[in-house]
Amino acid sequence: MNETVPGTSDRPGTVASGTSHQPVSSREVRRRFERHQKRRSTLIALTSTLVVVGLLVALIPQTPGWYKVKRSFFDGDVFSETFPRLLEAFVKDVQIFLWCAPCILVWGMVLAVCRSVRTPALFPLRLFAAAYTDVFRGVPVILTILLIGFGVPGLGMDRPWNSPYLWGSVALVLTYSSYVAEVFRAGIESVHESQRAGARSLGLSSGQTLRFVVIPQAVRRVVPPLMNDLVSLQKDVALVSLIGPIEILRQAGIDKSKFANFTPYLGAALIFLALTIPETRFVDHLMARERRRTSGTTIR
């Protein structure tokens, strides 16, 4: 907002002084000043964007490889022929996402609660949860998918227990629940000790305290980072294609080979963006609201 240094004529006191003999309230002067500033920054932002975009449009076609790139990535005919199929395949991604997400949230919460229990008798549980999150956070998701996706069906079980959808999803749940568990745990730990004291002093058990007092507050606080993880999950579902299921990435690969053209990948990217951009905007909105709620105003 502050990329311009206001010249003397922008200073609050002088805006109205020349034009009017009426005394102008200081509030009015401030309002005018802020309006003026806002218009000015919008104008600057607009101009600089136009210049940059204009340069790109003008310069990129001048590059020696542009013609080839344009043909193999931006082929309109290929696009319109493959796009519906991609969209259809994308339904599979959404399905995988929709059944994985609830499992991840529940399992992640279970792990977080296990890591937060303080009863010595339940120490093994805590140890298990800690080891679990360490392992699955430390291994790239793609490796987990490959290991589980090729490993478990290798045991030779009958349908449906050899389905790549199943084991791909399991791999996603294993990995993402470890991320989500850490988010929940941070939330649980951020609830002040005095909340527990307040609840326990009323005779609530430690389980009731966790359930009615600590977890509701923890969850509220971690909604934005949680949503971020879910947006990542939405994208990583495509990795399941590596072990077989024909979802959007795989479909794009098939069409790429068929047409000897990369345009299907572009189509797939656009489809992802159509979903993930609104999602990330929504998360940003939630975060901004949380910040406003906790700090009153936003600092420029």
Binding site: S194, Q195, A197, G198, A199, R200, S201, L202, G203, L204, S205, Q208, F212, V213, P216, Q217, R220
Partner: protein, 248 residues
């Protein structure tokens, strides 16, 4: 007069630091005890030990003659009988006033939602908060929040109330409304143990005032005696400091 709470050489350390160093006290039913003493003398720790929020290292705490400090005892049923109100209210920020008050009666005593709501509304009316039942804690003044905290505690119908500096987080003009509630509780015969820096209030409400110093009760006497003619030298020094700072 029967004894409600007995403290028998209660000891408590945090690490190497002895915070309670042999506290002995018998509290009769309907008696009001005020703990005074400088910051760090162990007032909060003592109250937290009685509420079993801290376990003691040695000694015993008896409620109606039964040792409640035995290790391994289920603390939850005992805490139900002993209400505690904290300096910073510790209200649940995600619940409205009524839910704050009715949570424990419903989940711990097993009251139905209607029964608990009736009890909650009745208490809020008594504490002058009936029009704020739907408000959230952060929409209330400090005095109102503290009264909700008291209502929340009373909803469990405790036999004893522990009040830990319940007015010290409040603006001076809000202190009165909270103290009124404590007066009313005393009028109803509630057994109370309170830690306070409000000497005037301790003098007015307490049957006995106990001076705590480095984890020991050095002197315990009716307010007129303790404030008028303190016997222990430390008590005299403490009260002198209080007078010098204009807080008496």
């Amino acid at each position: 007069m029967n004894t409600k709470i007995s403290l028998r050489s209660v000891e408590k350390s945090f690490g190497d630091r002895k915070v309670l160093d042999g506290v002995d006290l018998d509290v009769a039913s309907s008696e009001v005890i005020a703990f005074i003493g400088s910051s760090g003398s162990g007032k909060s720790t003592l109250l937290r030990c009685i509420n079993l929020l801290e376990s003691i290292d040695d000694g015993a705490i008896l409620l109606d003659g039964v040792d409640i400090s035995l290790p391994g005892l289920d603390a939850d049923p005992i805490r139900r009988r002993i209400g505690m109100v904290f300096q910073n209210f510790n209200l649940f920020p995600h619940m409205n006033v009524l839910r704050n008050v009715t949570l424990a009666p419903r989940k711990v005593l097993g009251l139905s939602a209607d029964e608990a709501d009736d009890r909650g509304h009745e208490l809020l009316r008594r504490l002058g908060l009936h029009d704020r039942a739907g408000a959230y804690p952060d929409q209330l003044s400090g005095g109102q929040q503290q009264r909700v905290a008291i209502a929340r505690s009373l909803a469990m119908e405790p036999e004893v109330m522990l009040l830990d500096e319940i007015t010290s987080a409040l603006d001076p003009e809000l202190v009165g409304e909270v103290l009124d509630v404590v007066r009313e509780l005393k009028g109803n015969g509630m057994t109370m143990l309170l830690a306070t820096h409000e000497m005037g209030f301790a003098r007015e409400i307490a049957d006995r005032v106990c001076f705590l110093h480095q984890g020991q009760i050095l002197e315990c006497a009716p307010p007129n005696e303790l404030f008028g003619a303190p016997r222990n030298e430390r008590t005299q020094q403490f009260l002198q400091r209080v007078i010098d700072s204009g807080r008496l």
